[in-house]
């Protein structure tokens, strides 16, 4: 049973893998046949060469971006779950704060990046803040909605046993919201990568976004695309990592989905 599922997992990657390989091959052939100059559109092999040759520039900058993403994401996670729980528990916050938080979604957060640059300079902080701001929204909304979706009868069951409000939160509401919080965290970590790069594009001294602006001004297109490849790799890995943590933290979920099949 588990063995078969493992096998299915492996086969699941086959389709997308083949498709990507085919697209890369077509790209390579098209560039070669038309003789397009590298600065305009490098072939996949040019990008691959840049990934290897420029690794001493790419890797340290990738680590800078990664640390911004992780710090911003953690900040978003703490603030999102904390505020989400507060909004769930307090009718006043729900009426006053929640509509404002939803309203802020009409602001393109990355557009705040220049402002944060003015306030906090070229260092790590403004990037972490942009990252946290874009990651915050999916987490806070999924926390509030997850908490609200708690089975009313389970809450009544605990009330009938004499449980206090905070004990009901700890025993039922918070654990039952965790799948929803994890779903929010997975979306958040992906947009956090975008947030960090935006922060860097506006003004920075390090990071993949910074490297991209430098590469563009020098017509170093293979390196630009190599940076983009690393960014998407970062986003995908973090997304998968959250999924892994979720499977370890919520081992019961595999039985629930299995029994619903």
């Amino acid at each position: 049973m588990t063995e078969r599922r493992g096998l299915l997992d492996r086969w699941r990657w086959l389709g997308p893998g083949l498709l990507i390989a085919a697209l890369l091959a077509m790209w390579e052939i098209a560039v070669r046949i038309t003789g397009t100059p590298t600065w305009l559109l490098p072939a996949p092999t040019d990008v691959g060469r840049s990934l290897i040759d420029d690794r001493d520039i790419l890797l340290p900058n990738a680590l800078v971006t990664l640390s911004e993403v992780l710090l911003g994401f953690l900040l978003a996670l703490l603030a999102g779950i904390g505020l989400g729980a507060a909004i769930f528990r307090s009718p006043t916050l729900d009426r006053v704060l929640y509509p404002i938080i939803i309203g802020t979604q009409t602001i393109p957060i990355p557009a705040l990046a220049p402002l944060l640059l003015v306030w906090f300079g070229y260092g790590l902080l403004p990037k972490v803040l942009v990252t946290a701001l874009v990651g915050f929204f999916p987490i806070v909304v999924n926390t509030v909605e997850g908490l609200r979706a708690t089975d009313r009868e389970v809450v009544d069951l605990l009330r009938a046993f004499g449980a206090s409000r905070s004990r009901i939160f700890r025993l039922a509401e918070f654990p039952s919201s965790l799948p929803s919080i994890f779903a929010g965290a997975r979306i958040a970590v992906a947009v956090c990568v975008i947030g960090a790069v935006f922060g860097e594009l506006v003004g920075a001294r390090a990071g993949l976004g910074y490297l991209m602006t430098r590469a563009i001004s020098q017509f170093h297109t293979p390196r630009l695309i190599a940076a983009i490849v690393l960014l998407s790799l970062m986003g995908t890995s973090l997304f998968a990592l959250i999924g892994l943590i979720e499977r370890l933290a919520l081992p019961w979920r595999k039985y629930v989905t299995a029994s619903r099949d």
């Binding site: 009868e153 389970v154 009544d156 046993f161």
Partner: protein, 263 residues
Amino acid sequence: MPGMPGDRLELIDIVSTYNEGGRRLKALDGVTLRVGAGEFVALVGPSGSGKSTLLDIIAGLLSPDSGAVLLDGAQTTAGQRLGRSAYMQQRDLLLPWRTTIGNAALGLEASGVARATAERRAGAQLERFGLGGFGAAYPAQLSGGMRQRTAFLRTMLPEKSLLLLDEPFGALDALTRADLQAWLALLWEQERPSVILVTHDVEEAIFLADRVLVLTARPGRIALELPVDLPRPRTRELLASPEFLSERTTLLNALGILHGQRT
């Protein structure tokens, strides 16, 4: 009418309504009943007659519109009744993220016992509740009967002297149901709590209870009260005895007469 000494629970003239689309819908219309200490009472009535509403009120989850609820002779508010009884609702309400032991411990934890202590006490009772070897299983891995036993253990573990059981066997197949009924009879004889068992199975009511109360269709009112004079301990053989059959005929006749009046 003051509470009589020895009465574990007394309801006086309970009226309860729900708001439904702006209309007030009467669920209970003047229910009066008593449950003695260590007495097993079955509550029978058609679907929608307010049985679950009545248990909600006794558990303290709901305030009646009017009427009084007395516990051990003292009048109570809904808030004061919370934590005074063990309520097993119609659905088993097992938490999918907790194992059998974790779910069984939930009632104790809700009333303030530390998790480790609660789980140790739950673990010690697994065998007796027919859950031996399944302590680490999640609800989704259990059969319907096992889930119900887990919910029973969760209900019994805090050792409340008043049990409210809302159709605990309703969702089970006939064999499992018969099995669990006999097991509940045994359990009750060992610990002697006061019980209100909601059911719409007449045989189940007679087999388990000292007294059967019949509710009318909505709005619910007590239409009939039938003492069950059958010896204890009760076993499955009792079901075929002439005494049991005559009790059943009496109750079915009474229900038939009620039904005749309604239509």
